[in-house]
Amino acid sequence: MSSIDSKPRVALFVTCLVDLFRPSVGFATLKLLEDAGCVVSVPEAQVCCGQPAYNSGDRKDTVAIARQVIEAFEDYDYVVAPSGSCGGMIKDHYPALFAAEPDWQRRAEDLSARMFELTSFLVDVLKADPVAAKLEAKVTYHDSCSGLRELGVKAQPRALLGSVEGVELVEMQTPETCCGFGGTFCVKYGEVSTDIVTRKTADIAGTGADMLLAGDMGCLLNMAGRLKREGSSIQVRHVAEVLAGMTDMPAIGESK
């Protein structure tokens, strides 16, 4: 930790979906990090982690975007994203992109070591105190695939939710099963994607929860889209909003 007042200097990787669809998640993340004693910056040169290009097979552009991200986040103790998917891309996949360029690979590995998903950063790295939020709600939690399988995010969000006063957590039968989002998959193979998310929403509804939480905007938009199409009254939110006590905004896909 290199800063003068020894507070960790954290850069927020906003993620493109939060930037575009749900700025409140960015502000909730800021609040959580600041409450936990971090000095947070939001580097302006950031756009996206490059996953859409990476998963579409456009390796050249992926590498170019990754270079940009590596440069933009070089000077911070930590980089934190409210997403397991973008977090996983940077932490798990960036180093391998530069197998033929040792200098860049070192820089990618350095970033990888400093990169964290929000809830795992709060719990595993900061060992932060319980959050101070309150919410009377019966919630269920969806484990997003990349967060779960690439970064081991599973217990952390649940531990944090456990400290929110009034929250009761009820588990789905298959919280670890993919929601069918899959990036461009959800549009390219829309029917298949819809079928997968329909199994998911049945599981969600079966819990009797009145709120669905997860740590990734992609999955949240997908599940909210299906729940709303089904006429469900279950609210869908990013876990950061609940942890930061910022649930006054309308839920995803709602206007009130």
């Binding site: 575009l20 960015g26 502000f27 579409s56 552009d61 695939c145 994607s193 199994r199 938009l221 206007s255």
Partner: protein, 479 residues
Amino acid sequence: MSMEVTAQNFEANAAKALRDPNLRKAMGIISGPMASRRVETARELPEFEALRDEGVKIKNHVLQHIDLYLEKFEQQLTARGGKLHWCRTPREARETVLALCRSRDAKIVTKGKSMVTEEIGLNDFLLEHGITPVETDLGEYIIQLAHEPPSHIIGPALHKTREQIADLFEEHHPDYELNGKKAGTRSTEPQVLVTEARSVLRDTYFRADVGITGANFLIAETGATVIVTNEGNGDLTQSLPKMHIAVSSIEKVIPTLEDLSTILRVLARSATGQEMSCYTTLSCGPKRAEDIDGPEEFHVVLVDNGRSEMLGTALQPLLRCIRCGACMNNCPVYHSVGGHAYGWVYPGPIGAALDPHMIGLETARHLPNASTFCGKCEEVCPMRIPLPDIMRHWRELAHEQQITPPLQRWGIEAWAFAAKHPWLYRLGARVAIAALKLLGKDKGRIASLPLASGWTDGRDFPAPQSADTFMSQYKKRSH
């Protein structure tokens, strides 16, 4: 001709599958009980993860020295009176099997379950040449009656419901009698159906001139071939006729019996959630003078079909596959569309990674794309094959070789161009979210977006929270 390829029609195949109520009912069994049995048996064995590592090590070692182990296998097999036939292509393999059958003047051959014989299109070929193959594995028998290809590598008829099977049996066994009595009314009870298939097949075992099986493993140190089944049909298939032909492929070789026992412990647990399959049968050559039964001739037809080309490439890990089926049992896409949608012999994640090599990327281009990259297949694969990485490898080749449709390629390149020029990206983003915000104005969601109908046909599209991005709101706040 090998099995008919319809992989190029994946989208249409999937759409059809999604509308098939019988298939949907059948898939419920795979995604539910089958997947959870694997989790339970794996949990009961504390060393399960260590055994997986051990299995990976064995296979990696073999693949590094595959020529040596195959030679050793051939030596041992020959020493025990068996004969090895090396076949580069499916055609060579078919011709070889046909010649062997003809040498016995075969009219009827019984068959145990074998994916490699599906790969080389053996059944149709034999039929064309006047030889009737009869599948003896219950699942294979059912789909043979239905004239369908397998939809799953270990449960070829898993897509069929009990009702459909009862219908098939009624149609194909009009004279079926049990204990001399005409069977009673049509039943959909599994036990009754199994008994019916068994008694119909029993007679065939004795009439068959040749028995053809696959082989899950080839043991280099002893020259034995190994099959793993739950019905015991393979044993009857290979021990009653005068000639036994095992059709297998080169990557099935492993060094020792010790290695076999390691891999068997993860195989059944991963496949069906059993601790062991019911029958593990080793064939160690033809009948010896002192044996009471067994075939007079024992042949191993060893198929390459593009496998040796995979050595030393990004595809090499696929040669570790032990065809357990866990990847498809746990795949959300497979659960939705079933095996036939993939349009070739190997469906599910292993097919999505392997088929482009076997039938060409152009034909199979959808398969590695039709994945959410959820990573579940890699999590459950006993051989820890990086299936998503290999699917991504194919996506990269398809992009490079311009096999990906132009609109998709240009779309992603245009997006990437913007992502590399943040000012342009922010401008585009502002326009796009302002428009979306407007469209969703009263409800916070949009019911129909013509350019993203893949999404909105079945889901609402949540509107952006604000016409202002996070970055721009943040800037305003901090200045």
